[in-house]
Protein backbone atom coordinates (compact mmCIF):
# COMPACT_ATOMS: atom_id res chain seq x y z
CA UNK A 1 0.00 0.00 0.00
CA UNK A 2 1.66 3.21 -1.03
CA UNK A 3 0.98 6.87 -0.42
CA UNK A 4 -0.94 7.30 -3.64
CA UNK A 5 -3.47 4.59 -2.84
CA UNK A 6 -3.92 5.97 0.68
CA UNK A 7 -4.43 9.39 -0.79
CA UNK A 8 -7.09 8.09 -3.13
CA UNK A 9 -8.88 6.21 -0.36
CA UNK A 10 -8.82 9.34 1.78
CA UNK A 11 -10.37 11.43 -0.98
CA UNK A 12 -13.06 8.83 -1.58
CA UNK A 13 -13.86 8.63 2.10
CA UNK A 14 -14.20 12.41 2.40
CA UNK A 15 -16.43 12.45 -0.68
CA UNK A 16 -18.73 9.70 0.57
CA UNK A 17 -19.00 11.09 4.10
CA UNK A 18 -19.54 14.58 2.73
CA UNK A 19 -22.30 13.63 0.31
CA UNK A 20 -24.01 11.39 2.87
CA UNK A 21 -23.92 14.26 5.37
CA UNK A 22 -25.29 16.62 2.74
CA UNK A 23 -28.22 14.38 1.83
CA UNK A 24 -29.10 12.86 5.18
CA UNK A 25 -28.79 15.70 7.67
CA UNK A 26 -31.92 17.70 6.73
CA UNK A 27 -33.93 14.47 6.69
CA UNK A 28 -32.78 13.30 10.09
CA UNK A 29 -32.11 16.43 12.12
CA UNK A 30 -34.29 19.18 13.55
CA UNK A 31 -34.28 22.51 11.77
CA UNK A 32 -32.34 24.31 14.50
CA UNK A 33 -29.60 21.65 14.35
CA UNK A 34 -29.47 22.09 10.59
CA UNK A 35 -29.14 25.82 11.15
CA UNK A 36 -26.23 25.29 13.56
CA UNK A 37 -24.54 22.90 11.17
CA UNK A 38 -24.90 25.42 8.35
CA UNK A 39 -22.75 27.94 10.15
CA UNK A 40 -20.18 25.23 10.89
CA UNK A 41 -19.96 24.51 7.17
CA UNK A 42 -19.52 28.19 6.37
CA UNK A 43 -16.82 28.63 8.98
CA UNK A 44 -15.08 25.51 7.69
CA UNK A 45 -14.72 27.25 4.31
CA UNK A 46 -13.11 30.14 6.16
CA UNK A 47 -10.83 27.66 7.94
CA UNK A 48 -9.85 26.20 4.56
CA UNK A 49 -8.88 29.63 3.28
CA UNK A 50 -6.32 29.92 6.06
CA UNK A 51 -5.34 26.27 5.68
CA UNK A 52 -4.29 27.12 2.13
CA UNK A 53 -2.30 30.25 2.76
CA UNK A 54 -0.79 29.32 6.12
CA UNK A 55 -0.65 25.53 6.03
CA UNK A 56 0.53 25.26 2.44
CA UNK A 57 1.69 28.73 1.48
CA UNK A 58 3.55 29.31 4.74
CA UNK A 59 2.01 32.78 5.06
CA UNK A 60 0.90 33.45 8.62
CA UNK A 61 -2.08 35.70 8.09
CA UNK A 62 -3.49 36.85 11.40
CA UNK A 63 -6.21 38.85 9.72
CA UNK A 64 -8.11 36.35 7.64
CA UNK A 65 -11.22 37.83 9.26
CA UNK A 66 -10.60 41.02 7.26
CA UNK A 67 -11.47 39.25 4.02
CA UNK A 68 -14.28 37.32 5.69
CA UNK A 69 -15.81 40.54 6.98
CA UNK A 70 -15.30 42.38 3.72
CA UNK A 71 -17.12 39.59 1.92
CA UNK A 72 -20.02 39.80 4.36
CA UNK A 73 -20.25 43.60 4.21
CA UNK A 74 -19.86 43.69 0.44
CA UNK A 75 -22.69 41.23 0.02
CA UNK A 76 -24.93 43.13 2.43
CA UNK A 77 -24.33 46.52 0.88
CA UNK A 78 -24.60 45.30 -2.70
CA UNK A 79 -27.73 43.35 -1.86
CA UNK A 80 -29.57 46.39 -0.46
CA UNK A 81 -28.62 48.35 -3.53
CA UNK A 82 -29.26 45.77 -6.22
CA UNK A 83 -31.90 43.43 -4.80
CA UNK A 84 -30.78 40.46 -6.88
CA UNK A 85 -28.05 38.29 -5.40
CA UNK A 86 -25.93 37.14 -8.36
CA UNK A 87 -23.79 40.24 -8.63
CA UNK A 88 -23.54 40.77 -4.83
CA UNK A 89 -22.29 37.21 -4.49
CA UNK A 90 -19.64 37.74 -7.15
CA UNK A 91 -18.66 41.08 -5.65
CA UNK A 92 -18.32 39.46 -2.22
CA UNK A 93 -15.66 37.22 -3.74
CA UNK A 94 -14.01 39.73 -6.04
CA UNK A 95 -13.66 42.64 -3.63
CA UNK A 96 -11.89 40.73 -0.82
CA UNK A 97 -9.72 39.08 -3.46
CA UNK A 98 -8.76 42.47 -4.88
CA UNK A 99 -8.10 43.79 -1.39
CA UNK A 100 -5.94 40.75 -0.61
CA UNK A 101 -4.07 41.27 -3.88
CA UNK A 102 -3.38 44.92 -3.08
CA UNK A 103 -2.32 44.23 0.50
CA UNK A 104 -0.33 41.19 -0.59
CA UNK A 105 1.42 43.17 -3.29
CA UNK A 106 2.86 45.60 -0.76
CA UNK A 107 3.73 42.89 1.74
CA UNK A 108 5.35 40.36 -0.58
CA UNK A 109 6.97 42.72 -3.04
CA UNK A 110 8.12 44.82 -0.09
CA UNK A 111 9.75 41.67 1.29
CA UNK A 112 8.03 41.94 4.66
CA UNK A 113 9.25 39.10 6.88
CA UNK A 114 6.92 36.53 8.39
CA UNK A 115 6.45 38.03 11.82
CA UNK A 116 5.68 41.49 10.49
CA UNK A 117 3.30 39.96 8.01
CA UNK A 118 1.30 38.55 10.90
CA UNK A 119 1.35 41.92 12.65
CA UNK A 120 0.31 43.84 9.53
CA UNK A 121 -2.59 41.55 8.69
CA UNK A 122 -3.83 41.67 12.29
CA UNK A 123 -3.58 45.44 12.25
CA UNK A 124 -5.51 45.65 9.00
CA UNK A 125 -8.44 43.69 10.36
CA UNK A 126 -8.45 45.76 13.57
CA UNK A 127 -8.41 48.97 11.53
CA UNK A 128 -11.40 47.68 9.61
CA UNK A 129 -13.08 46.82 12.91
CA UNK A 130 -12.57 50.31 14.27
CA UNK A 131 -13.48 52.07 11.05
CA UNK A 132 -16.70 50.17 10.49
CA UNK A 133 -17.48 50.40 14.20
CA UNK A 134 -17.58 54.18 14.00
CA UNK A 135 -20.00 54.45 11.10
CA UNK A 136 -23.16 54.51 13.21
CA UNK A 137 -24.52 57.82 11.98
CA UNK A 138 -26.99 58.13 9.09
CA UNK A 139 -24.35 59.98 7.07
CA UNK A 140 -22.45 56.72 6.60
CA UNK A 141 -24.16 54.89 3.81
CA UNK A 142 -23.27 53.35 0.48
CA UNK A 143 -26.17 53.81 -1.87
CA UNK A 144 -29.26 52.95 0.14
CA UNK A 145 -27.34 50.67 2.52
CA UNK A 146 -26.53 52.21 5.91
CA UNK A 147 -23.38 50.85 7.47
CA UNK A 148 -24.86 51.01 10.96
CA UNK A 149 -21.58 51.21 12.90
CA UNK A 150 -21.43 48.97 15.94
CA UNK A 151 -25.10 48.04 15.43
CA UNK A 152 -24.21 46.30 12.21
CA UNK A 153 -26.51 45.73 9.27
CA UNK A 154 -29.65 43.74 10.07
CA UNK A 155 -32.19 42.22 7.71
CA UNK A 156 -29.84 41.37 4.88
CA UNK A 157 -31.87 39.84 2.04
CA UNK A 158 -30.97 36.20 1.44
CA UNK A 159 -29.51 34.72 -1.73
CA UNK A 160 -31.87 33.86 -4.54
CA UNK A 161 -31.56 31.49 -7.46
CA UNK A 162 -29.53 33.30 -10.12
CA UNK A 163 -31.69 35.69 -12.11
CA UNK A 164 -34.89 35.12 -10.16
CA UNK A 165 -35.33 37.60 -7.32
CA UNK A 166 -38.43 35.88 -5.99
CA UNK A 167 -36.90 32.41 -5.71
CA UNK A 168 -35.17 32.95 -2.39
CA UNK A 169 -33.02 30.17 -0.94
CA UNK A 170 -34.61 29.00 2.31
CA UNK A 171 -32.89 27.77 5.48
CA UNK A 172 -32.66 24.20 4.32
CA UNK A 173 -31.41 25.42 0.95
CA UNK A 174 -28.70 27.36 2.75
CA UNK A 175 -27.58 24.14 4.41
CA UNK A 176 -27.34 22.39 1.06
CA UNK A 177 -25.56 25.34 -0.50
CA UNK A 178 -23.05 25.75 2.33
CA UNK A 179 -22.25 22.05 2.56
CA UNK A 180 -21.91 21.72 -1.20
CA UNK A 181 -19.72 24.83 -1.23
CA UNK A 182 -17.51 23.35 1.49
CA UNK A 183 -17.13 20.10 -0.44
CA UNK A 184 -16.41 21.99 -3.65
CA UNK A 185 -13.83 24.13 -1.85
CA UNK A 186 -12.19 21.08 -0.34
CA UNK A 187 -11.91 19.18 -3.63
CA UNK A 188 -10.98 22.32 -5.51
CA UNK A 189 -8.10 22.96 -3.15
CA UNK A 190 -7.00 19.33 -3.40
CA UNK A 191 -6.82 19.77 -7.17
CA UNK A 192 -4.99 23.07 -6.81
CA UNK A 193 -2.44 21.55 -4.44
CA UNK A 194 -1.82 18.61 -6.74
CA UNK A 195 -1.19 20.97 -9.65
CA UNK A 196 2.13 22.51 -10.60
CA UNK A 197 1.15 25.69 -8.83
CA UNK A 198 0.33 23.83 -5.62
CA UNK A 199 3.58 21.89 -5.59
CA UNK A 200 5.58 25.04 -6.20
CA UNK A 201 3.94 26.97 -3.34
CA UNK A 202 4.74 24.09 -0.99
CA UNK A 203 8.33 24.21 -2.24
CA UNK A 204 8.45 27.92 -1.50
CA UNK A 205 7.09 27.26 2.00
CA UNK A 206 9.83 24.69 2.54
CA UNK A 207 12.71 26.81 1.28
CA UNK A 208 11.99 30.15 -0.30
CA UNK A 209 15.59 30.94 -1.17
CA UNK A 210 16.09 27.62 -2.90
CA UNK A 211 12.92 28.08 -4.92
CA UNK A 212 14.20 31.48 -5.96
CA UNK A 213 17.58 30.08 -6.99
CA UNK A 214 15.76 27.58 -9.17
CA UNK A 215 14.08 30.42 -11.02
CA UNK A 216 10.69 30.76 -9.31
CA UNK A 217 9.59 34.19 -8.18
CA UNK A 218 8.28 33.55 -4.65
CA UNK A 219 6.63 36.94 -4.46
CA UNK A 220 4.30 36.19 -7.35
CA UNK A 221 3.39 32.74 -6.04
CA UNK A 222 2.71 34.02 -2.55
CA UNK A 223 0.63 36.86 -3.90
CA UNK A 224 -1.47 34.44 -5.93
CA UNK A 225 -1.93 32.15 -2.93
CA UNK A 226 -2.88 35.03 -0.69
CA UNK A 227 -5.39 36.32 -3.22
CA UNK A 228 -7.06 32.92 -3.58
CA UNK A 229 -7.24 32.74 0.23
CA UNK A 230 -8.83 36.19 0.32
CA UNK A 231 -11.40 35.22 -2.29
CA UNK A 232 -12.36 32.06 -0.36
CA UNK A 233 -12.68 33.95 2.90
CA UNK A 234 -14.84 36.54 1.16
CA UNK A 235 -17.08 33.82 -0.21
CA UNK A 236 -17.45 32.38 3.29
CA UNK A 237 -18.29 35.87 4.53
CA UNK A 238 -21.04 36.19 1.95
CA UNK A 239 -22.58 32.90 3.08
CA UNK A 240 -22.27 34.00 6.70
CA UNK A 241 -24.13 37.26 6.05
CA UNK A 242 -26.84 35.14 4.50
CA UNK A 243 -27.04 32.68 7.30
CA UNK A 244 -27.83 35.19 10.03
CA UNK A 245 -29.19 37.92 7.73
CA UNK A 246 -26.94 40.10 9.83
CA UNK A 247 -23.39 41.39 9.93
CA UNK A 248 -21.64 43.55 12.52
CA UNK A 249 -18.10 44.86 13.00
CA UNK A 250 -17.24 42.06 15.48
CA UNK A 251 -16.67 40.01 12.35
CA UNK A 252 -13.40 41.95 11.98
CA UNK A 253 -12.55 41.69 15.68
CA UNK A 254 -9.67 40.06 17.48
CA UNK A 255 -11.78 37.16 18.77
CA UNK A 256 -12.87 36.22 15.27
CA UNK A 257 -9.40 36.45 13.72
CA UNK A 258 -7.80 34.50 16.58
CA UNK A 259 -10.42 31.81 16.28
CA UNK A 260 -9.50 31.04 12.68
CA UNK A 261 -5.89 30.53 13.72
CA UNK A 262 -7.00 28.25 16.56
CA UNK A 263 -9.03 26.09 14.17
CA UNK A 264 -6.02 25.56 11.95
CA UNK A 265 -3.61 24.91 14.83
CA UNK A 266 -5.97 22.43 16.49
CA UNK A 267 -6.79 20.63 13.25
CA UNK A 268 -3.26 20.69 11.87
CA UNK A 269 -1.34 22.77 9.39
CA UNK A 270 -0.41 21.19 6.11
CA UNK A 271 -3.69 19.31 5.80
CA UNK A 272 -7.09 20.39 4.55
CA UNK A 273 -9.25 18.00 6.51
CA UNK A 274 -7.55 19.06 9.75
CA UNK A 275 -8.72 22.68 9.78
CA UNK A 276 -12.25 21.53 8.87
CA UNK A 277 -12.25 19.15 11.83
CA UNK A 278 -10.64 21.78 14.07
CA UNK A 279 -13.18 24.40 13.02
CA UNK A 280 -16.23 22.23 13.58
CA UNK A 281 -14.86 20.76 16.80
CA UNK A 282 -13.93 24.09 18.37
CA UNK A 283 -17.21 25.69 17.35
CA UNK A 284 -19.24 22.81 18.65
CA UNK A 285 -17.36 22.99 21.93
CA UNK A 286 -17.85 26.76 22.20
CA UNK A 287 -21.56 26.34 21.56
CA UNK A 288 -21.87 23.52 24.07
CA UNK A 289 -20.02 25.48 26.74
CA UNK A 290 -21.93 28.66 26.02
CA UNK A 291 -25.28 26.88 26.18
CA UNK A 292 -24.59 25.44 29.63
CA UNK A 293 -24.82 28.66 31.58
CA UNK A 294 -24.06 27.75 35.16
CA UNK A 295 -27.12 27.71 37.35
CA UNK A 296 -25.21 27.25 40.59
CA UNK A 297 -22.21 29.17 41.70
CA UNK A 298 -19.76 26.30 41.44
CA UNK A 299 -16.39 27.73 40.51
CA UNK A 300 -15.76 25.09 37.86
CA UNK A 301 -19.08 25.81 36.18
CA UNK A 302 -18.18 29.45 35.93
CA UNK A 303 -14.82 28.59 34.42
CA UNK A 304 -16.38 26.21 31.92
CA UNK A 305 -18.85 28.87 30.85
CA UNK A 306 -16.00 31.25 30.07
CA UNK A 307 -15.59 30.27 26.44
CA UNK A 308 -12.63 32.51 25.54
CA UNK A 309 -10.74 31.14 28.52
CA UNK A 310 -11.40 27.55 27.47
CA UNK A 311 -10.40 28.33 23.88
CA UNK A 312 -7.20 29.90 25.16
CA UNK A 313 -6.41 26.82 27.20
CA UNK A 314 -7.07 24.61 24.18
CA UNK A 315 -4.77 26.74 22.06
CA UNK A 316 -1.94 26.62 24.58
CA UNK A 317 -2.43 22.90 25.12
CA UNK A 318 -2.23 22.18 21.41
CA UNK A 319 0.77 24.39 20.78
CA UNK A 320 2.65 22.71 23.62
CA UNK A 321 1.43 19.12 23.43
CA UNK A 322 0.15 18.51 19.89
CA UNK A 323 2.09 21.07 17.87
CA UNK A 324 1.36 19.40 14.57
CA UNK A 325 -2.37 19.40 15.21
CA UNK A 326 -4.98 16.70 15.54
CA UNK A 327 -5.14 15.22 12.06
CA UNK A 328 -1.40 14.94 11.28
CA UNK A 329 -0.74 13.49 14.74
CA UNK A 330 -3.53 10.93 14.40
CA UNK A 331 -2.29 10.17 10.89
CA UNK A 332 1.22 9.49 12.15
CA UNK A 333 -0.15 7.33 14.92
CA UNK A 334 -2.23 5.34 12.43
CA UNK A 335 0.74 4.91 10.12
CA UNK A 336 2.88 3.78 13.03
CA UNK A 337 0.25 1.19 13.98
CA UNK A 338 0.06 -0.11 10.41
CA UNK A 339 3.85 -0.24 10.08
CA UNK A 340 4.48 -1.98 13.37
CA UNK A 341 1.83 -4.52 12.45
CA UNK A 342 3.43 -4.99 9.05
CA UNK A 343 6.78 -5.48 10.76
CA UNK A 344 5.36 -8.12 13.04
CA UNK A 345 3.85 -9.92 10.07
CA UNK A 346 7.03 -9.47 8.05
CA UNK A 347 9.27 -11.05 10.67
CA UNK A 348 7.22 -14.21 10.20
CA UNK A 349 7.86 -14.07 6.43
CA UNK A 350 11.08 -13.83 4.50
CA UNK A 351 12.38 -10.35 5.29
CA UNK A 352 13.53 -9.55 1.72
CA UNK A 353 10.08 -10.14 0.32
CA UNK A 354 8.46 -7.79 2.78
CA UNK A 355 10.87 -5.02 1.78
CA UNK A 356 9.83 -5.08 -1.85
CA UNK A 357 6.08 -5.28 -1.41
Amino acid sequence: MNARVLNFLGLGLVGIVGVAFLILTPRLAELDTVLDLTVYMIMAILALSLALIWGYGGILCFGQSAFFGLGAYTYAIAMFNLGESTIPLLLAIALPAAFAALLGYFMFYGRISDVYLGVITLTVTLILFNSVNSTAGPEFHIGVARLGGFNGIPGIPPLNYPGNKAAVIDLEGMFYLSTAALLATYFGLRLLLASRFGRIIVGIRENERRAELLGYDPRAYKLATFTIGGALAGFAGCLFANWGNFVSPTIFGLAQSAQIIIWVIVGGRGTLIGPIVGCIGVQWLSAALGANQPSGSDWWARILANVPLILGIILVAFVLLVPKGLVPTLGEFGLWLVRSRARRVATGLKPKQAEKG
Binding site: I200, A211, E212, L214, G215, D217
Partner: protein, 240 residues
Protein backbone atom coordinates in the same frame (compact mmCIF):
# COMPACT_ATOMS: atom_id res chain seq x y z
CA UNK B 1 39.59 35.79 -27.96
CA UNK B 2 35.92 34.90 -27.63
CA UNK B 3 33.72 36.92 -25.27
CA UNK B 4 33.73 35.48 -21.75
CA UNK B 5 30.71 33.65 -20.39
CA UNK B 6 30.93 35.48 -17.10
CA UNK B 7 32.78 38.61 -16.24
CA UNK B 8 32.94 40.88 -13.21
CA UNK B 9 34.23 44.41 -13.34
CA UNK B 10 35.44 46.12 -10.17
CA UNK B 11 32.93 44.08 -8.22
CA UNK B 12 32.74 45.19 -4.59
CA UNK B 13 30.57 44.50 -1.59
CA UNK B 14 30.47 46.60 1.51
CA UNK B 15 28.58 45.95 4.73
CA UNK B 16 29.02 49.03 6.86
CA UNK B 17 32.74 49.20 7.57
CA UNK B 18 33.45 45.68 6.36
CA UNK B 19 34.34 45.06 2.75
CA UNK B 20 34.35 41.33 2.06
CA UNK B 21 34.85 41.77 -1.70
CA UNK B 22 37.02 44.54 -3.13
CA UNK B 23 37.11 45.46 -6.76
CA UNK B 24 37.26 41.97 -8.21
CA UNK B 25 37.87 41.56 -11.91
CA UNK B 26 37.13 38.01 -12.85
CA UNK B 27 36.53 36.34 -16.15
CA UNK B 28 35.38 32.86 -17.07
CA UNK B 29 35.39 31.43 -20.58
CA UNK B 30 32.62 29.35 -22.10
CA UNK B 31 32.87 25.76 -20.85
CA UNK B 32 35.66 26.51 -18.39
CA UNK B 33 36.13 24.84 -15.02
CA UNK B 34 37.62 27.19 -12.46
CA UNK B 35 38.48 26.58 -8.86
CA UNK B 36 38.24 29.32 -6.30
CA UNK B 37 40.32 28.96 -3.17
CA UNK B 38 41.22 31.20 -0.30
CA UNK B 39 41.12 31.25 3.49
CA UNK B 40 37.89 31.67 5.43
CA UNK B 41 36.56 35.19 5.10
CA UNK B 42 38.34 35.77 1.79
CA UNK B 43 35.00 36.72 0.20
CA UNK B 44 34.29 33.64 -1.87
CA UNK B 45 30.76 33.06 -0.65
CA UNK B 46 29.90 36.75 -0.86
CA UNK B 47 31.24 36.71 -4.41
CA UNK B 48 28.90 33.80 -5.23
CA UNK B 49 25.98 35.59 -3.65
CA UNK B 50 26.53 38.59 -5.90
CA UNK B 51 26.76 36.40 -8.98
CA UNK B 52 23.41 34.79 -8.18
CA UNK B 53 21.48 37.88 -7.18
CA UNK B 54 21.31 37.05 -3.48
CA UNK B 55 23.25 40.23 -2.78
CA UNK B 56 23.26 43.43 -4.78
CA UNK B 57 26.85 44.61 -5.32
CA UNK B 58 27.83 47.91 -3.73
CA UNK B 59 29.92 48.72 -6.77
CA UNK B 60 30.89 47.22 -10.08
CA UNK B 61 29.17 44.93 -12.51
CA UNK B 62 28.46 41.30 -13.18
CA UNK B 63 28.13 40.43 -16.85
CA UNK B 64 26.71 37.12 -18.00
CA UNK B 65 27.02 36.63 -21.75
CA UNK B 66 27.64 40.36 -21.93
CA UNK B 67 24.38 41.20 -20.14
CA UNK B 68 24.60 43.23 -16.94
CA UNK B 69 22.95 41.18 -14.19
CA UNK B 70 24.28 43.07 -11.17
CA UNK B 71 20.83 44.30 -10.21
CA UNK B 72 18.74 41.38 -11.42
CA UNK B 73 16.64 39.31 -9.02
CA UNK B 74 17.84 35.86 -8.02
CA UNK B 75 15.03 34.12 -9.91
CA UNK B 76 15.79 36.08 -13.07
CA UNK B 77 19.46 35.13 -12.93
CA UNK B 78 18.48 31.50 -12.39
CA UNK B 79 16.33 31.70 -15.50
CA UNK B 80 19.24 33.12 -17.50
CA UNK B 81 21.17 29.96 -16.71
CA UNK B 82 23.23 30.26 -13.55
CA UNK B 83 22.70 27.55 -10.97
CA UNK B 84 24.23 27.35 -7.51
CA UNK B 85 24.86 24.67 -4.94
CA UNK B 86 25.24 26.50 -1.66
CA UNK B 87 27.69 25.72 1.10
CA UNK B 88 25.12 24.43 3.59
CA UNK B 89 22.86 22.24 1.45
CA UNK B 90 19.82 24.32 0.59
CA UNK B 91 17.13 21.78 -0.22
CA UNK B 92 13.43 21.27 0.46
CA UNK B 93 13.84 19.29 3.69
CA UNK B 94 10.17 18.52 4.24
CA UNK B 95 9.67 17.06 0.77
CA UNK B 96 10.72 13.77 -0.78
CA UNK B 97 13.88 13.44 -2.86
CA UNK B 98 11.72 12.97 -5.94
CA UNK B 99 9.68 16.10 -5.22
CA UNK B 100 12.91 18.06 -4.72
CA UNK B 101 14.23 17.11 -8.12
CA UNK B 102 10.80 17.58 -9.68
CA UNK B 103 10.59 21.18 -8.45
CA UNK B 104 13.76 21.89 -10.38
CA UNK B 105 12.89 19.91 -13.51
CA UNK B 106 9.40 21.39 -13.62
CA UNK B 107 10.80 24.87 -14.18
CA UNK B 108 12.19 24.05 -17.60
CA UNK B 109 10.28 20.98 -18.74
CA UNK B 110 6.71 20.16 -19.68
CA UNK B 111 4.66 18.02 -17.29
CA UNK B 112 5.28 14.82 -19.27
CA UNK B 113 8.98 15.43 -19.77
CA UNK B 114 9.67 16.46 -16.15
CA UNK B 115 8.78 13.00 -14.82
CA UNK B 116 11.33 11.33 -17.08
CA UNK B 117 14.01 13.89 -16.33
CA UNK B 118 13.49 13.29 -12.61
CA UNK B 119 13.88 9.52 -13.03
CA UNK B 120 17.05 9.95 -15.07
CA UNK B 121 18.55 12.33 -12.55
CA UNK B 122 17.75 10.03 -9.61
CA UNK B 123 19.43 7.20 -11.49
CA UNK B 124 22.45 9.28 -12.40
CA UNK B 125 23.09 10.34 -8.81
CA UNK B 126 22.29 6.95 -7.35
CA UNK B 127 19.33 8.31 -5.41
CA UNK B 128 16.64 6.04 -6.87
CA UNK B 129 16.60 3.91 -3.72
CA UNK B 130 15.79 6.87 -1.49
CA UNK B 131 13.50 8.69 -3.96
CA UNK B 132 10.47 8.62 -1.66
CA UNK B 133 12.35 9.51 1.54
CA UNK B 134 12.16 13.01 2.98
CA UNK B 135 15.36 14.89 2.25
CA UNK B 136 15.56 16.10 5.86
CA UNK B 137 16.02 12.47 6.94
CA UNK B 138 19.01 11.82 4.68
CA UNK B 139 22.67 11.85 5.65
CA UNK B 140 24.67 14.98 4.95
CA UNK B 141 26.47 13.53 1.92
CA UNK B 142 23.22 12.45 0.33
CA UNK B 143 21.65 15.85 0.89
CA UNK B 144 24.62 17.34 -0.97
CA UNK B 145 23.83 15.03 -3.85
CA UNK B 146 20.18 15.99 -3.79
CA UNK B 147 21.13 19.63 -4.07
CA UNK B 148 23.47 18.84 -6.92
CA UNK B 149 20.60 17.00 -8.60
CA UNK B 150 18.35 20.00 -8.13
CA UNK B 151 20.89 22.32 -9.68
CA UNK B 152 21.60 20.02 -12.63
CA UNK B 153 17.90 19.51 -13.30
CA UNK B 154 17.40 23.16 -14.19
CA UNK B 155 20.05 22.64 -16.88
CA UNK B 156 22.07 25.82 -16.26
CA UNK B 157 24.88 27.08 -18.49
CA UNK B 158 27.06 27.95 -15.55
CA UNK B 159 27.12 26.06 -12.25
CA UNK B 160 28.54 27.46 -9.05
CA UNK B 161 29.52 24.89 -6.45
CA UNK B 162 30.24 26.15 -2.95
CA UNK B 163 32.30 23.47 -1.18
CA UNK B 164 30.69 20.47 -2.86
CA UNK B 165 32.98 17.99 -1.09
CA UNK B 166 32.60 19.41 2.42
CA UNK B 167 31.71 16.77 4.98
CA UNK B 168 31.92 13.94 2.49
CA UNK B 169 33.68 10.63 2.95
CA UNK B 170 36.73 9.88 0.80
CA UNK B 171 34.64 7.73 -1.54
CA UNK B 172 32.03 10.41 -1.89
CA UNK B 173 34.70 13.01 -2.63
CA UNK B 174 36.01 10.80 -5.42
CA UNK B 175 32.56 10.31 -6.83
CA UNK B 176 31.89 14.04 -6.65
CA UNK B 177 35.13 14.86 -8.47
CA UNK B 178 34.18 12.43 -11.19
CA UNK B 179 30.76 13.99 -11.48
CA UNK B 180 32.21 17.51 -11.64
CA UNK B 181 34.48 16.50 -14.52
CA UNK B 182 31.56 14.87 -16.25
CA UNK B 183 29.39 17.98 -15.84
CA UNK B 184 32.23 20.08 -17.21
CA UNK B 185 31.98 18.29 -20.55
CA UNK B 186 28.94 20.40 -21.32
CA UNK B 187 28.88 23.20 -18.75
CA UNK B 188 31.05 25.87 -17.23
CA UNK B 189 31.70 25.61 -13.51
CA UNK B 190 33.15 27.64 -10.69
CA UNK B 191 34.03 25.54 -7.67
CA UNK B 192 34.86 26.91 -4.24
CA UNK B 193 36.73 24.30 -2.27
CA UNK B 194 39.13 23.91 0.63
CA UNK B 195 40.05 20.31 0.02
CA UNK B 196 43.31 20.50 -1.99
CA UNK B 197 43.10 16.86 -2.94
CA UNK B 198 39.73 17.48 -4.48
CA UNK B 199 41.08 20.50 -6.34
CA UNK B 200 43.95 18.43 -7.75
CA UNK B 201 41.40 15.93 -9.01
CA UNK B 202 39.38 18.46 -10.96
CA UNK B 203 41.19 21.72 -11.59
CA UNK B 204 43.24 23.23 -14.35
CA UNK B 205 42.98 26.93 -13.57
CA UNK B 206 42.75 28.27 -10.02
CA UNK B 207 41.88 31.72 -8.70
CA UNK B 208 43.06 32.56 -5.20
CA UNK B 209 41.03 35.02 -3.11
CA UNK B 210 42.52 36.78 -0.13
CA UNK B 211 40.90 39.52 1.93
CA UNK B 212 38.32 40.23 -0.74
CA UNK B 213 40.80 40.58 -3.61
CA UNK B 214 42.07 38.25 -6.27
CA UNK B 215 45.57 37.40 -5.06
CA UNK B 216 46.70 35.31 -7.99
CA UNK B 217 45.29 33.35 -10.88
CA UNK B 218 47.25 30.47 -12.37
CA UNK B 219 47.35 26.84 -13.39
CA UNK B 220 46.86 24.43 -10.51
CA UNK B 221 50.49 23.15 -10.50
CA UNK B 222 51.86 26.66 -10.23
CA UNK B 223 49.38 27.62 -7.54
CA UNK B 224 50.49 24.69 -5.41
CA UNK B 225 54.10 25.79 -5.78
CA UNK B 226 53.42 29.51 -5.28
CA UNK B 227 55.02 30.57 -1.95
CA UNK B 228 52.56 33.45 -1.53
CA UNK B 229 49.62 31.06 -1.70
CA UNK B 230 51.34 28.68 0.69
CA UNK B 231 51.76 31.50 3.14
CA UNK B 232 48.23 32.79 3.23
CA UNK B 233 46.44 29.57 2.73
CA UNK B 234 48.17 26.26 2.51
CA UNK B 235 50.78 27.13 5.09
CA UNK B 236 48.09 28.04 7.53
CA UNK B 237 46.28 24.80 6.83
CA UNK B 238 49.42 22.75 7.22
CA UNK B 239 50.15 24.49 10.48
CA UNK B 240 46.62 23.97 11.77
Amino acid sequence: MAAPLLETRNLSMRFGGVQPVRSVNFSLAEGELRCLIGPNGAGKSTFFKMLTGQLVPSEGQVLFRGQDISHAYAHQIARLGIGIKTQVPSVFDGLSVRENIWLAANRIHSRERAGNVVDEMLERLGLTGVAERLVGQLAHGQRQWVELGIVLSTDPELILLDEPAAGMTYDEVHKTAQLVREINRSKALIVVEHDMQFIRMIAKQVTVFNQGCVLVEDAVENILRNPLVRDIYLGKQAAA
